[in-house]
Amino acid sequence: MLKSVTIGQYIYRDSLIHRLDARIKILATLIVMIGLFMVDRFIGFGLVAVFVGTLISLAKLPYKRVLRGLKPIIFIAIFTFILHLFFTPGGELLFKIGFLTVYEDGLVTGLFMVVRILLLILFTSLLTLTTSPIELTDAIEYLLKPFQKVGVPAHELAMMMTIALRFIPTLMEEADKIMKAQQARGADFESGSLLRKAKSLIPLLIPLFISAFRRADDLALAMEARCYRGGENRTRMNQLKYRVHDFIAFGLIIIFTVTLIIL
């Protein structure tokens, strides 16, 4: 059951989008996000939707899988819609049930917000769908480098992220094992009230933490034994280099976003 949890839903394909430099993809995502917040008409959203659709097919991703990524936020989207629907006065009165009133502006703003949220999530998910976690952390390290002067530990942050990503599957496996061992001793993780359920997690969490600390200790020792010293003068196996198509892609994104805002 723990197996079904996947972190970072990277789907490997050989496509133009996958080959783009991860730094460009992160920056592009940020820029389009800003653009999305500045859009004030539905036509802008239409444009973004077409753009996202094009990117998905360029990246050779299955539409279904991408859309399924929206599932977890459906609830938030509906909640936002209802909130705006009932609490934005203005425009024509559409209908009234008891103390609940719905105005035209409410309906429009509600829809507007929902579309914005969905597009936002869809677009950012393209980043994690087409970029492997390792590339992503590497890119973040590069992008944070300029801030090192003001005390941002870029290399350390990226290293921490890499290690965390590396150990998630290991910990999942470990959790699965401990859970089974406790179940064999009659532990019950499924039934009972919420409080009981929370309590029943203790026999799982304590051994899990202990093993996580043990692993962290071992890893730290192993890294020290190999003279790991953090970021200073460290070379890397995969050098990130901008290529022509990265600049073209970046240019296109800028043009797209500017159009979006002007529209």
Binding site: Q183, A184, R185, A187, I206, P207, I210
Partner: protein
Amino acid sequence: MLIKLENVSHLYEDQSTVAALKDINLTVNQNEFIGLVGHTGSGKSTLIQTLNGLIRPTRGKIFIENEEITSKGFDLKTIRRKIGLVFQYPEHQLFEETVEKDIAFGPRNLGLSANQIIDRVHWAMDMVQMDYDEFRQRSPFQLSGGQKRKVAIAGVLAMRPQVLILDEPSAGLDPMGRNQLLQLLIRLNKEYQMTIILVSHRMEEVAELADRLLVMNEGYLVLDDSPREVFQNVNLLEEIGLGIPQVTRLLWEIKKRGYNIRTDLLTLKEVKEEIISFTRGRELC
């Protein structure tokens, strides 16, 4: 008959092409001492987890005391009190503040009374040769590796299962710790009539203890017989990466050189006697 498996197959993931278990048929009887051997990845751990419902096999049926535990809606908790499972490196599952509380975790889950629980804990600690008064208030995390292992095994024993399954329980123990553990298993089997299933890849160990040996290879159950018979299949065993006890191997080597000697002996004592009687009255050099 205590446990019965009918055509049990298991795939870990729906899409995966290799099955961890392939069409296993098996019956286990009351009070047997069974050794389960196989190369790494052959499916031993998977098999024993299906036996107490921790893994629901993809196909096939499992019966425990004539009840089908693989049927829909079966309450698996009733099985867990009948079948105790000690995992590989069981010391990683300890979590309580004191040894006593940790061992009591299983019995408490069974819903026993406070007095019964104390009795069970005391008994289990006696069985693994840990002094009750000395250790019961200690934190399990401050014990040595071998002591932790004992506490973990006691934790399962305290549930008083009819069947005790152990996955590589002697891995990483010193010779004395290993010996103590094996003596314990013999005692549980003889004195308390527990059915024991011991997973191991030390051939000497299972050859000496078990009255029946199961050999697994790539998810199949390839041999199921008394150790004596199983170790007659030298070629098959070597093909699937398992050895035979060293003393038995010695007999085979002698036989290969053209001498007519028995090869179905497993323990050092038996083999010694065979070789002495074989050499008696013979001009060897």
